[in-house]
């Protein structure tokens, strides 16, 4: 529950960074779909399932696992960060880039086929969810 709430904060901050990088449409989509729909659904499910302490998985070595995995992952992260630091980027310039009209033109000219495939994918996900829920009902 707490992690879901802090996840909302993280997503909203990422949305702010999108706006800073000139993605105004992406900012709106991030706020509406991620923070508004996905995480709210997670919170809804958490409250709907009424999870108690004994329903949570028993993780006795949680802190140890997290420390161990952080040690394991940190060299790769350090390599990537040093790679990024060795590159030279121009400082951030805030100008009129990435307006909604331009994104729409790009989406409906070069990306028409992936756009339509996304709609088919969403339809497949819908059917899959319905089948998952229905199977559960038949089992009882």
């Amino acid at each position: 529950m707490n992690s879901a709430l802090s996840f909302i904060v993280t997503l909203l901050s990422i949305a702010g960074l999108f706006a800073l990088l000139g993605g105004s449409f992406l900012f709106l989509v991030q706020v509406i779909i991620y923070a508004g729909a996905v995480v709210t659904l997670i919170l809804f499910i958490i409250m709907f399932l009424n999870i108690k302490e004994e329903n949570l998985p028993h993780e006795p070595y949680k802190t140890r696992w997290i420390l161990f995995m952080s040690l394991l992952i940190s060299p790769f992260t350090a390599i990537l960060i040093s790679t990024v630091n060795s590159m030279h980027f121009s400082p951030l310039h805030l100008e009129n880039f990435g307006s909604i009209k331009d994104v729409g033109m790009e989406l409906f000219t070069q990306w028409v086929l992936p756009f339509e495939m996304i709609s088919i994918l969403l339809l497949i996900a819908l059917i899959g969810v319905v089948i998952l829920a229905k199977k559960e009902k038949g089992h009882d």
């Binding site: 992406l26 996905v38 329903n55 992260t77 880039f97 899959g128 998952l132």
Partner: protein, 105 residues
């Protein structure tokens, strides 16, 4: 002064946190949120690159990733409900049990 490199560093850090979360936890909600965190890190890097090259393709790719993440969210939530009804726990290890019980029938 902020430059694009700091966005990359933030994206890399978020991705690493996501990997650590998905490997070291067994709570399925935390695993799902780690996956979403990794997707968001990739989104951030894509948008930073699209700003760097002044090319809108990166932003369109990020929109596609968000749409796929929405589809993924619906399936994950259906799985949560199914898992909780069957097992009354949020342990991801229960999925192994499901596969074995099918075999015994």
């Amino acid at each position: 002064m902020i430059d694009i490199g700091s966005f990359f560093i933030l994206g890399i850090l978020l991705f690493s946190i996501g990997i650590v979360g998905i490997i070291s936890r067994r709570n399925i909600f935390v695993m799902y949120m780690s996956v979403e965190l990794m997707l968001n890190a990739v989104n951030l890097i894509l948008v930073a690159l699209s700003h760097h090259y002044e090319d809108l393709n990166g932003q369109v790719m990020a929109i596609m990733i968000i749409a796929i993440a929405a589809a993924e969210a619906s399936i994950f939530l259906a799985l949560f409900v199914m898992l909780f009804k069957n097992a009354h726990s949020l342990d991801a290890n229960f999925f192994e049990l499901l596969a074995q019980e099918k075999h015994n029938d």
